[in-house]
Subunit: 367 residues, 2 copies
């Protein structure tokens, strides 16, 4: 530990999480005076020209980043994915109908619970007996007869598991993805989905705003009347503005989309994310007599690496010593314990390098 | 018009609206590195110590600003007041029960509509026949027999009307106030209320976060089971964190509360707001052969001054010329037309002075 003031540390937080530094620098300016208007981004009317341009650009850049087809609506909503847990069935699941859910972690469990307010949630795979260490192989999946949709969590932040690719979807149903923690971390083919949603606070921006991408025909016949702020249809029709939207969140997401494009797009994000994850998993595999990964090898996440020593006191020392060495936020979620290294798009490779070295040194010193 | 770059203009926007400049300056720093942690406020985990301190301070400062009694819960929610339109009856109105609503403008109308998803909304006063130009005198109010609560909008942003004090409440009921556009613009006695809510984007912070203050006994027996993110009880129990909260909105509200206290608290806010409003109403009254105020004199808002010439072309010229002179956002809401000058807590007196002079000059030049 030194007494020199720290400017920026390596932030392994699972979310809210590290943002690209050029985006932060730009936000510092725009908070005072956006585009020479003499008014900061937080203070601009959502009905004015300046914010209109921000919103339009955010949507256009999002479509460009994700190569989103024209028959998909893209809009921004208040709140995070826990709101989407009920908004999905509220907007897409009629009373008496069934949707299939992959129960692969905490957020998937919450989604199952909330769906039951609106229809029937059939669990087509339950990862709990295995403590959510792996994602299913095809023989472990059991669909209901006629599901409206099939819901899965593309990356399980707490467990550190990630689908290598989206699950197959029965005929007549459509796929819904909770992509909170890996949206735009790699290329995604939206034509395989009916709906993709993501809270912003991992790969996209600040907490409090969500991105929703939905095939437009799915909004045509809502199964029930809903309060204004719960309606996908209204939000899509009003271009993300059924009321005053979370303007700063939308602004910041636009800046992040711009940053992704300027860095080379989703292929480049995947290349970097894979390289960072390989550094850390490589160090863990090389010290496997000392560290154990929570996720089964075939289900490992590129976003969140979960591991432990098996000794809670030693885990705590790992977290504390890493923090002293400029690596913050490595404590695992209480339900899994141990450590978790979250390395989203904006997380720098140097941080992964430093963690990998620290893992080796720690194992050697304490092994 | 000059070609010199404008740094900051007078921002009369109805919301999102002008914020205190010291708060913006501080936010610029904290976005990069909060309190020497080496991590910006947007990037801090909501479960970490740094944000924990931010949240705790925001609540404590809010209680201090509002002199909020201990038997009231204070929490922050995702979204704005349009969400509260349905959250209030969802959490407080049992099926088959009735709540009374003062229908005094657009937001009040929306509240009535949303309440009908959960119970019966009785309109105890309807301002529409008068085009919402005034708030009711006691003889214009007709309560239902046994309302659970009485809902009113303390300031009608679009109409430019404001209750001088809260309405009387029938025995056995409690008052609910949508205080979006005048919260903390003057002292408020919370003991007269069951619930007060406000979207942040006028007097408190950025859009996308709401403040809720509620008497704790009202949360004890919720009338129905609700999805997690709709439950006041859960949000109160979890200290604003049933899930990842809108961390930046909460941070910024804390900074604004701190600013209010440092400037002298709510008495001083009211003194300033009254002085600003008097300047502008004074100019309008002095040119009443040219300008007409929308609100009846006894119902005039200190926050939003609504007025017009009666000639839409002349109104448009007023707005455009004011803009050229560094006064932005004066166009009235489309449902009322004409002009609207919104002057919340952070709006500087110099801007009101300049507008008052501009009103006199414009009337003289065009009268």
């Amino acid at each position: 530990m030194t007494s020199v003031a720290i400017d920026r540390v390596f932030n392994f937080s699972a979310g809210p999480a590290v943002l690209p530094e050029p985006v932060l620098r730009r936000a510092q300016e725009d908070i005072w005076n956006l585009a020479g208007t003499g008014i900061g981004i937080l203070e601009h009317s959502h009905r004015g020209k300046a914010f209109g341009a921000v919103l339009e650009e955010a949507e256009a850049l999002c479509r460009k980043v994700g190569n989103i087809p024209d028959n998909y609506k893209v809009f921004f909503m208040q709140g995070g994915a826990t709101s989407q847990c009920y908004l999905v069935p509220a907007n897409l699941l009629g009373q008496g109908k069934t949707a299939d859910y992959f129960r692969t972690g905490k957020w998937a469990k919450d989604s199952v619970k909330e769906a039951r307010f609106y229809g029937t949630a059939h669990v087509c795979y339950d990862g709990e007996p295995d403590n959510f260490r792996h994602l299913p192989t095809p023989d472990e999946i059991s669909h209901s007869d006629n599901p409206v949709y099939v819901h899965f969590t593309s990356n399980n932040t707490i467990m550190g598991t990630q689908w290598a690719e989206e699950p197959a979807c029965p005929d007549g149903a459509f796929l819904v993805s909770d992509a909170c923690s890996d949206i735009f971390s790699r290329p995604i083919d939206f034509t395989r989905y009916g709906l993709v949603y993501a809270g912003a606070q991992k790969n996209l921006g600040p907490s409090g705003t969500s991105l929703v991408v939905v095939r437009e025909d799915l909004l045509e016949n809502p199964p029930r009347e809903l309060p204004m702020m719960q309606s996908y249809k209204l939000c899509a029709e009003k271009g993300s503005m059924p009321n005053t939207p979370p303007t700063f969140g939308i602004y910041l997401m636009g800046r992040v989309f711009d940053w992704i494009l300027s860095e080379g797009g989703l292929e480049e994000m995947e290349r970097r994310n894979r390289a960072k994850a390989e550094l850390v998993y490589g160090a863990l595999d090389a010290t496997s007599e000392f560290f154990e990964c929570h996720a089964r090898e075939d289900s490992r996440s590129l976003m969140n690496v979960t591991f432990k020593t098996g000794d809670p006191e030693l885990d705590a020392r790992f977290v504390a010593e890493a923090d002293t060495n400029g690596m913050n936020g490595l404590k695992g979620h209480r339900s899994v314990g141990g450590m978790r290294a979250s390395m989203y798009n904006a997380f720098p490779r140097e941080g992964a390098d430093q963690l990998a070295q620290f893992i080796r040194d720690f194992a050697q010193k304490n092994g």
